[in-house]
Symmetry: C2
Subunit: 503 residues, 2 copies
């Protein structure tokens, strides 16, 4: 009886997931291929498909099936495939159905208007024009949190959309310790007054050579082009269009090496995660990524822990010199390595380096928590932003365009999303340190161009596990310890101490 | 009352059309972009969407709305937008609902198995292995015809899927007269023993230069790249992914000029039709193409009537010489013009020239009519094929691979499709002759690179009319005369008489 109910449930959910992959194709095509005039109609196509998917996700039969199954032996082991499927689908169904339709519609409308207002406000560096939208959005996000419920604080309910099961108090404590270690590290780097030769990264890097090298390196670390593509777009992303169809994107800047190269490594990291999910579990929670933070950990691991390491460039630098003889023939490996690891407090998050990046996130995380909890008024946000930049990074934006108006997230209703970037960095360092111990010295493998052991380890320990464990459980299961700021801080200290002659 | 029913109907049908455009995107992506391993999952995505579309097209509410509306004032004028909408949707709904589900499924299965068997049979040139499939397909097509009904002969019911409202007796008479004029024309060309310098078309034509020239010419004749794209595929097609999103495709052969160049002109012709449909009528019959034959007339008009004319090359040949200096610098315009108009009886339809092409179609049309009406047994088909090739083109295929097994159509259940290719040629010549009269000498405009008057005329007379008239009505409305073989025969005689020194 409950087996056939379970089959029915899985069939329904899998079919919904198939429609969701079509939604991904619409999105990928819009960003990479679609002719410009087709935008309005594309919105209509996407809205219609989203409506269909929403209908299927809130189908009352789902609720009935899940109630029946929650009490069945199939749900007994919460980490088994069936237990995970039932637990996670029930969680999602309840969240979805607890949100009143009127609130969903108001949130959607507020996000559309908010993004429009944000674009104009950013262009004009006019925070006041955006403030009423931001107030409305935070009010609606508080309503959303109350509607779906939470354990400790309203923020938990929002965080749960991106990092299921996490608590503000828990990540706040870890991120706070990270901040307390990073602020003095960055200050010491600034005080060292060493300045790597970053101008070499701004020489001429022909686009075709960038693409060839990027594809080659992505394939070397394990992105499978038989089951994926690499295309060009304005704001790079990675999109799963099916279990055998993962598409990454990048943009090329002929006068800046880092943009496409590390962008491709980053997206390939996301792609390798998607390609490592269990195909036979496609569309069901055991075949889906755990959380935004864990997804980000896979991109950051390849981009930073691997891709910005000296071992990595010991292997690839001769190939890079061949690809860009004009730019790099006269540049020694050590200078190149120092340049791609330049640390420099800056105003714009998306351009930040490995060390300062998390401080940008901390500013946003702390402010959005305060806004949500009414400890900070929207009108006071630009001032609070400047204060935090001064205190964490020692710099202050000259205007709001380069300050509080730089990110799209809040304007589109994404509250609780920012911390997943730093969680990704934390998870990445903790996973990498564990893999390094278990695989017996990753640097030696990497400098020989051997990426398969690391990729297989990630696949077995993380990718193939899907949602059978929460992010926090997974970290503890894989590394034997709860999430900590220490692996990331150790990694950054070990890397930057020699580069900047720190004590 | 009936106005709100009409609005409901239009909304439902338009939404179905939006889903159909998503289906087109899946297809385009599969042919142009999809990574190879994603094929199996793509079939699942397409099947799920097709199921959804079929459900919507056979929704019983449609039948109720249409019955109510058929008697309403909105249906009074059969050529008005509302009258056309009601008439055409009723026709389609009745056709769809008359087909038993079991027959639809059997046809789908027979087509899948038929195509597989055909591929193997063509590879091995083994007609006997394919024959049982072909017998089954023609049996099922007869059942289909009986289920949906017809006016005179079973073939009418099948033809109606591609050329709505046409009759076998009518097109058979026109095509017969065309055949009787073409056979002696082709024979006279062969007897002339003149042989244009076709080897110049097989020189080296670099791919990038082909693409640049192809895009340029497509844009010149009016294909709007703000609302469309050109991509590469193995078997070129044109696909409408929305009212502002028409995508054409081609393939490049560096050692053959014609393949991509005339292919792009052909697909751009289809694309210009799609781009000329009335956007505000998107998804409804007044905003959709009349028939396969009329669609083909638009591609053939630009490819052959315009693109293979001397006037066209008087304008574009200097640009082609600039694009391919190595291949064409020493070739005079007249030699090039003669080469691209080489007439030569050959075995393969898709490689045939403007004069012999229709004889290939006549062979297929006459044979499929005979097969459907049981006047010819499948076992006797290869022999009948050879006899007709001998009598119409004076050549006989050495094996079935180059004979009866060359086309995919029948194996996939497409019976009644072939004549639309020749109808396209007939319509094209008749429209072109009329435009020439009304616009006062097209050749003079074309040799000055002026394509806008012709394109506007086509848009107003044909594209924007949608399905408000049947193909036969449209021809008579636009040209003042019923469909005739004469304009095409006159065009071919006028072109080839000087080229081949005919009397």
């Amino acid at each position: 009886m409950s087996t056939s109910t379970y089959d029915q449930l899985c069939r329904h959910v899998r079919q919904t997931a198939v429609f969701a992959t079509i939604e991904s194709l619409l999105y990928w095509d819009e960003r990479c291929m679609m002719p410009p005039r087709a935008a309005a109609f594309r919105a209509e196509q996407a809205a219609q498909l989203a409506g269909l998917i929403h209908e299927r996700q809130t189908d009352p039969r789902l609720g009935e099936w899940l109630n029946e199954l929650a009490a069945s032996p199939l749900a007994a082991d919460p980490h088994s495939d069936s237990g995970t499927t039932i637990r996670q689908l029930k969680r999602l169904y309840e969240k979805k159905t607890r949100l009143p339709r009127s609130l969903v519609e108001e949130l959607t409308q507020a996000a559309v208007l908010g993004q429009q207002a944000w674009q104009a406000a950013r262009r004009d560096s006019d925070f006041a024009a955006f403030a009423p939208h931001l107030e409305r959005i935070f009010r609606l996000k508080r309503e959303q949190a109350e509607a779906v419920g939470y354990r400790e604080s309203a923020y938990d309910a929002l965080l749960d959309d991106f990092e299921p099961g996490e608590l503000c108090s828990h990540i706040g404590a870890v991120l706070g310790r990270l901040r307390d270690a990073l602020v003095p590290l960055v200050a010491a780097i600034v005080e060292s007054r060493r300045s790597p030769p970053v101008e070499i990264l701004h020489r001429h890097y022909p686009r075709e050579a960038q693409e060839r090298l990027g594809r080659h390196v992505a394939a070397c670390i394990g992105f499978d082009f038989h089951r994926g593509r690499l295309d060009v777009t304005a704001h790079p992303f990675c999109s799963g269009i099916g279990p055998q169809d993962c598409r990454i994107t990048t943009r090329y800047d002929e006068s800046y090496f880092n943009s496409a190269f590390f962008g491709i490594l980053h997206e390939a990291g996301h792609g390798i995660y998607d390609q490592g999910l269990r195909e036979e579990m496609f569309g069901l929670p055991p075949g889906e990524a755990v959380s935004m933070g864990i997804h980000e950990s896979q991109s950051r691991l390849w981009e930073n822990l691997v891709g910005r390491s000296l071992a990595f460039w010991r292997y690839f630098y001769p190939q890079a010199q061949q690809a860009f003889p004009e730019a790099l023939a006269d540049v020694p490996l050590e200078a190149f390595y120092a340049a791609i690891n330049d640390v420099r407090p800056s105003l714009i998050r998306v351009e930040a380096d490995e060390a300062t990046y998390n401080l940008h996130i901390l500013v946003r995380f702390e402010l959005e928590v305060d806004l949500l909890q009414d400890r900070l008024r929207v009108a006071d946000l630009p001032g609070a932003w400047r204060e935090k930049y001064q205190s964490y990074l020692g710099i202050v934006p000259p205007d709001d365009r380069q300050g509080v108006l730089q990110d799209i997230h809040w304007s589109g209703g994404l509250v609780g999303y920012f911390p997943t970037y730093s969680l990704g960095n934390l998870y990445a360092a903790q996973f990498y340190a564990q893999a390094d111990r278990e695989l017996g010295g990753l640097a030696r493998q990497i400098e020989q161009g051997e990426f398969t052991p690391l990729r297989r380890w990630l696949r077995e320990k993380i990718h193939a596990v899907g949602q059978c464990y929460t992010a926090a459980e997974l970290v503890e299961r894989v590394t034997g310890r709860p999430l900590s700021h220490e692996p990331l801080v150790s990694h950054l200290q070990a890397k930057f101490a020699p580069l900047y002659g720190l004590g």
